[in-house]
């Protein structure tokens, strides 16, 4: 049984003038130990989705089952107890401004009703893990964004949760700080086996830490699976948009018919493009190429612009397919 099960989850906001369907029939299973990325454009409903996981937002329909417990059936008291197993960190850190670093870390444990001596001991441990021992008596206003997020992570970890939910946790941070926070999250996941759900609009975040990814578009969960699967064979329009937006925007791709080919391991040693040009006498324009490390495996992709002539286009595609490469059309929406 999955640690987090979402079944036919629906959330509708009813206003005076209009109703907004923020989430429509979401089904998702997240297992213990996974780092699950939930990605989508802003307004796609991903923040609402993560708030449904700990019932900060009550779903309009469907079930949220955490560790076998259906959240809708819990009493308010039982729900509060469950929330101590499901910590959350936020885009704007949400620290208590009037408490110092120690006080902020202690806060979650005070809520949980731990004994003072135990809290003090645990605060020291947490400070060690996030590397802020020398800053323990500072107030949030005296810390950088990255340091504040480390305090928030320490606070989230202090109650020994099974799950950590991250709502755009790196969106307010610069790239280097983002990397260090993501590394910290990965470390926590690997050392303590804590399941992490990461909400983001940045593909690079998913690429660098997630094991699995779900794509949310306009209230629908359009695609999910391992990061490798979704990256190499994006099925949905939204997934393609998110993956190619990065590729396309960097290279400034523009032109008529373009294809995307994907290399995985074996194919990368063979001179494919040279072969294509020499054997088929088809000239192609390399618009974009890169190799990325996705979940520890090298993964290459290339976007080629094909000549105008239809016959030559087909020849090139046939040749590439014969080399056992996956070939996909890159259509106008992709960039």
């Amino acid at each position: 049984m999955a640690l987090i099960e979402l079944r036919h989850l629906t959330k509708t906001f009813r206003g005076k003038m209009q109703t907004v369907e923020a989430l429509r029939d979401i089904n998702l299973s997240i297992h213990q130990g996974e780092i699950y990325g939930i990605i989508g454009m802003s307004g796609a409903g991903k923040s609402t989705l993560v708030r449904c996981i700990n019932f900060l937002e009550k779903p309009t329909g469907g079930q949220v089952i955490i560790d076998g417990k259906d959240l809708a059936t819990l009493t308010p008291k039982a729900l509060r107890a469950l929330r101590q197993d499901v910590s959350m960190i936020f885009q704007h850190f949400n620290l208590l401004q009037q408490r110092d670093v120690r006080g902020n870390i202690a806060f979650a444990m005070e809520i949980a009703g731990m004994k003072k001596a135990d809290i003090e001991r645990r605060v020291d441990e947490m400070l060690e893990i996030v590397g802020l021992t020398d800053r323990q008596h500072n107030y949030p206003s005296q810390l950088s964004g990255g340091q504040q997020q480390r305090v928030a992570i320490a606070r989230a970890l202090s109650t020994n949760p099974k799950i950590i939910l991250c709502d755009e946790a790196t969106s307010a941070l610069d790239p280097q700080t983002t990397t260090s926070i993501l590394n910290l999250l990965r470390e926590i996941n690997q050392k303590m086996g804590i399941t992490i759900v990461i909400i983001t609009h940045e593909m690079s975040v998913v690429e660098s830490v997630c094991t699995h990814v779900a794509i949310v578009d306009n209230g629908d969960l359009v695609e999910n699976g391992t990061v490798e699967q979704v990256f190499s064979q994006p099925k949905s329009e939204a997934a393609r948009k998110l993956i190619f937006r990065k590729a396309g925007a960097d290279a400034g791709v523009m032109g008529d018919r373009m294809i995307r080919i994907v290399f995985e391991g074996n194919a990368s040693s063979e001179p494919i493009i040279a072969g294509l040009v020499m054997e088929c006498h088809v000239a192609v324009n390399i618009m974009y190429a890169d190799t990325r490390d996705v979940g520890g495996k090298a993964f290459g992709q290339m976007i080629l612009q094909l000549p105008e002539d239809h016959l030559q286009q087909e020849k090139a595609i046939y040749y590439l397919q014969n080399k056992n490469l996956r070939v996909e059309e890159v259509n106008g929406h992709a960039h």
Binding site: N54, L56, L79, R80, A81, L82, R83, Q84, V86, S87, M88, F90, H92, N94, L95, L96, Q97, Q98, R99, D100, F107, A108, E110, I111, A112, Y139, S141, Q142, A152, R155, T159, L165
Partner: protein, 221 residues
Amino acid sequence: MPIEKMVPLMIDGIRDTMYMTVVSTFFAYLLGLPLAIALVLTSPKGLAPRPLIYRVMDAVVNIFRSIPFLILMILVIPLTRLIAGKAYGSTATIVPLVIAAAPYVARMIESSLLEVDPGVIEAAQSMGASIPQIVFKVIIPEAKTSLIVGATISSGTILGYSAMSGAIGGGGLGQIAISYGYNRYQTDVLLVTVILLVILMQLIQVVGMTISRKTDKRVRE
């Protein structure tokens, strides 16, 4: 008025004015704080929305806030007699002062509590905090600076009301100003009471603002 008569008169006046202000502020907070917390919690966007209860409390606060203090003082004379045994003097004036100030104080506190970052409250909820925990561990401590500023303004206003009460039988500096300065044309007494009231107001302001600044942790040192 000769100085040897003026000094003891003014000392009594200051003592009575301070007594009314401090005691009234205390009781106004005793009533206003729970009222403000209830307003914040039961509001439609609050943690425990109860629209009907909210609307009733909101209306009651507005009604009391819209009655001018002098008129309120006359209106509550029967109640004042019931509680204080008489309707004149410093102690009796505390009754209308508290009734006038409590709704005012409630509004001041309410606005301070609403300033607290909703993100921090959400974080506390995500940790499984109960409503009392959120109120006493998050909302009030986070609003501390703003609450102290509010208390400073409120006690200043109560000081002003207490002086006004001198017109219809209240005590303190206000009563001295009216009975000597206005009724007996002793301009020197009037001037001295005004100066003393200004000094008292300044004192409250300086002390309150210093405490609020000193206890605020948001400022970089």
